[in-house]
Amino acid sequence: MDYLLDIFLISISAALINNFVLYYFVGICPFISVSRQVDMAVGMGSAVTFVMTIAVLISWSITTLVLMPGAPLTTWVAGFFMAPDGAGGIDLTILSYIVYIFAIASSVQLVEMYVRKFYPPLYKSFGVFLPLITTNCAILFACLTVMSHIIGVENPADAWDLGRALALGIFGGCGFTIAIVIMAGIREELELCDIPEPFKGAAITLIVGGILAMAFMGFTGVDSGIRNALMGN
């Protein structure tokens, strides 16, 4: 019950309360450039959600198995070369950024090839966005958040397991999709409006984004409210 509640809270927190775009400002570039039409926004959003889930899965596995101090795979490999007590203390976290960005880039390539070969309709709907996503900050941000919940925690029992990490990946992507689709809907209407010349393009998009961010601030505190209501304290 506690576990399910935790997953639920991580999910709504990633999707709504601390929305990746409107609260953490990651993935702003596609938010401004790809949000002209609703169908393109849906394609971009699903591509990001898809890649984010895979990237979180990979980064969670690499962090727990290889990078963190005392990780099983590193200890096992190092056990061949040094004394067992030294092998357990190897800390590879300094390599994490390089490893993550490499993992993201290669998984995007693989996913693109796979989808193009086996699911042509799916490729048509969001395949063109896949190469763009490699340098999307939202993906790396999701990986870093997962890392901070594995390595950054003081008590090892609080470290996130794969379920929590995946909840963050899937619903973080959903939050991105929600934000970019709302934005695209507004921008389709804006086409018909008489906007002052200097505001055309990115400026009005940013101001609309500001108003959206204000609306999303209304979700603040929903997570602790739900926790209090369900746990009864």
């Binding site: 400002f25 990651v26 570039c29 300094i94 960005i101 340098t135 984004g209 500001g210 961010a213």
Partner: protein, 208 residues
Amino acid sequence: MNDNPTPLERFIQGVLPENPVYRQLLGLCPTLAVTNNVKSALTMATAVGAVLLSANIIISLIRNLLRPHLRIVVFTLTIAAFVTIVDRVLAAYMYSMSKTLGPYIPLIIVNCIIICRCEVVAARQPVTAAAADAVGQAAGFGLALISIAVIRELLGAGTLAGLQVMPAAWPRWVIMVLPPGAFLTFGLLLALVNWITALRRNKQGQEG
């Protein structure tokens, strides 16, 4: 801009005429995320500048060894290595600042400004040109970050870099230091820059 600008011209181009934030709309994540006070904006701009300069120099040195299809991978890995260094340095010497900036320091890896400059300049030009371009772009980026941070901190907290500037009775516009303030401030400043550019272009058009 002529075809073969001197290093000084490259520097000046980066600061205003081709400002990475206002003109090219690149690197918006840190622009919006860390500009709620001047100190973190300055630190961020310095960090991006250091990474940009080192990456541009390295890429420019190895530009003849680059293979077209592996180019982007090499750029990204070089940048990631320098970002790791900057991240460790910040954590060692400015621990509280490194905590405040949090994930936005590693996010420099995917900052489009750096990849764009590596691709456009460093992969084609000698070291001096690449370095001058990097310094110019970094200065332009810093200028943009600080212009936003000054407005947000002044209106949101009544301070500048932690010093009280506004009278004590100033009703703090807390919204300015919260996420919506970033979008609004940057949107308005961008419109202002567009407006001034259009005015100047009209004037030049009338004279010429």
